[in-house]
């Protein structure tokens, strides 16, 4: 009982004495996760366009090689970022750039890594989403005279993105948690702050209980908001059907 009380008191003191550090860590985590997810999604749009390129049968030989190169690049990109841990990517990017004399701030490096990682994951999701659309949607647009570009922009991407909302939400939640690994290069997110504050008096249990609670809080708020968003969409999708106006 006494031990438990002392843990509680230590945690309270820790929170009160380091409020600005905790808030800073929280802010960094939220920024990395949200901005990283959004930027990653935008990059994924570009990457998936690269990936679905197919050369026309009668296209010029050079053009066909170029198209294949673009496709390959996208495939290699996705393969690399899905095939290596984010922690390793962070080290490579941060220290790699440094050794090239192109040092960038750790936060920027962290944000870039999250974005690139998210992009790789969402490229796959988006590609699968496009593949899952009925091919009639594409044909209907083409038959109406729309260009392939317009078909993707106005018909296929909007539908795939709409179906992707849960996957994007999932990626956001993953990012909220996985940005913890960026502490390896010194990004001052929540994990980093937990370690730093705990190390002052070797009170890691207390500091990481706080870290856990903060993660639980933001992750659950995010899940709750995403749930609301999805519900709104499904409710709109199931307007009761009335048969008025049916011709006989």
């Amino acid at each position: 009982m006494i031990v438990q009380l002392s843990v509680f008191n230590t945690m309270r003191a820790m929170l009160e004495n380091n409020a600005s550090l905790w808030l800073y860590g929280l802010r960094t985590t939220l920024l990395l996760a949200f901005v990283g997810t959004v930027v990653g999604l935008l990059l994924a749009l570009v990457l998936v366009v690269m990936k679905i390129q197919t050369p026309r049968r009668d296209a010029h030989f050079m053009k066909r090689i170029l198209v294949r190169l673009v496709r390959r690049t996208s495939i290699l990109y996705v393969g690399f970022f899905r095939g290596t841990p984010m922690m390793v990517q962070a080290m490579l990017l941060y220290y790699g750039l440094q050794s090239l004399g192109l040092g960038i701030p750790v936060f920027t490096a962290g944000l870039v890594v999250v974005s690139l990682n998210t992009a790789a994951y969402l490229t796959e999701v988006l590609r699968a989403g496009l593949a899952a659309l009925h091919k009639g949607q594409k044909e209907a647009a083409l038959a109406l005279g729309m260009s392939p570009y317009a078909t993707y922009r106005l018909v296929l991407f909007p539908q795939a993105l709409k179906n992707m909302v849960p996957a994007i939400g999932n990626e956001l939640v993953v990012n909220l948690k996985d940005t913890a690994v960026l502490s390896v290069i010194g990004v001052t997110e929540m994990f980093y702050m937990g370690r730093r504050i705990g190390s002052a008096r070797y009170q890691f249990t207390e500091s990481f209980i706080i870290v856990s609670l903060l993660y639980l809080l933001v992750v659950n708020i995010a899940v709750w908001l995403l749930g609301k968003l999805t519900n709104m969409r499904t409710r709109r999708a199931s307007i009761p059907r009335s048969d008025s106006g049916v011709m006989t």
């Binding site: 009925h134 044909e139 038959a143 729309m146 018909v155 059907r241």
Partner: protein, 243 residues
């Protein structure tokens, strides 16, 4: 006028269309009948190049259609298409379905596109559904919207690929009625269908296809009364028996 010359389409080493030579005249109702897999859909799809023929040419008004974006666009502006499974844009409502391509392809202003769309939706009695999501419509309603969507582009020719085959029996009538109305207005129609009674009533010309070939090509609906070819007889007898 649409002309197909030596059109051949191959899927998996099978000649799904085998040297098709045919002309469709302006203002006529052309009905294509034939057993499943005979190539009716493929024939329609080569006209707007959704299926690119391996051999042969398609002409629309003596202008060659090919895979170049410019000519493709021109051809597809002239030729509208209605699919068996509607293929309405599922992320758009009824009105938006009929406006999207008008704005994007024909560069019409929003107001004008809306006016045109409403006119065609009204003609198929769907004007009271304009704000409805398309997945809340019945099959017959969807197909009528699909017809309005195609007509909103003011095509010269309308391709209809078994427009009633995916419908519940009770909604077939409303779609056939819509097609009949379009035909009366003088639109050139090329219609693949298994609705023999309707084909008979509406056809200016009837084409029987089998195994990728045009087996019999007759004026009006005479094919139903006096089929010349043995295979046509066999095919039609299946319908008269079940009817």
């Amino acid at each position: 006028m649409i002309t197909l010359e030596h059109v051949t389409k191959v899927y998996d080493n099978v000649r799904v269309l085998d040297d098709i030579n045919i002309q469709f005249k302006k203002g006529t109702v052309n009905v294509i009948i034939g057993p499943s897999g005979s190539g009716k859909s493929t024939l329609l799809r080569t006209i707007n190049y959704l299926a690119e023929p391996e051999k042969g040419q398609v002409f629309i008004h003596d202008e060659l259609v090919d895979a170049s974006p410019k000519r493709l666009r021109k051809a597809r502006k002239a030729v509208g298409m209605v699919f068996q499974d509607f293929h309405l844009f599922s992320h758009k409502n009824v009105l938006e379905n009929c406006m999207l391509a008008q704005i994007n392809v024909l560069n019409r202003a929003k107001d004008e596109a809306k006016k045109v769309a409403l006119k065609h939706l009204k003609a198929v009695h769907m004007e009271s559904f304009v704000t409805r999501r398309v997945d809340t419509l019945s099959g017959g309603q969807k197909q009528r919207v699909a017809i309005a969507r195609a007509l909103s582009m003011n095509p010269e020719v309308l391709l209809l690929d078994e427009p009633t085959s995916a419908l519940d029996p009770e909604t077939v009538g409303e779609v056939l009625e819509a097609i009949r109305t379009i035909a009366k207005k003088g639109m050139t129609l090329i219609l693949a269908t298994h609705e023999m009674a309707f084909a008979r009533a509406i056809a200016d010309r009837t084409i029987f296809m089998d195994a990728g070939k045009v087996v019999e090509d007759r004026n009006g609906a005479t094919i139903f009364e006096t089929p010349h070819h043995e295979r046509t007889c066999a095919f039609l007898s299946r319908f008269t028996k079940t009817a």
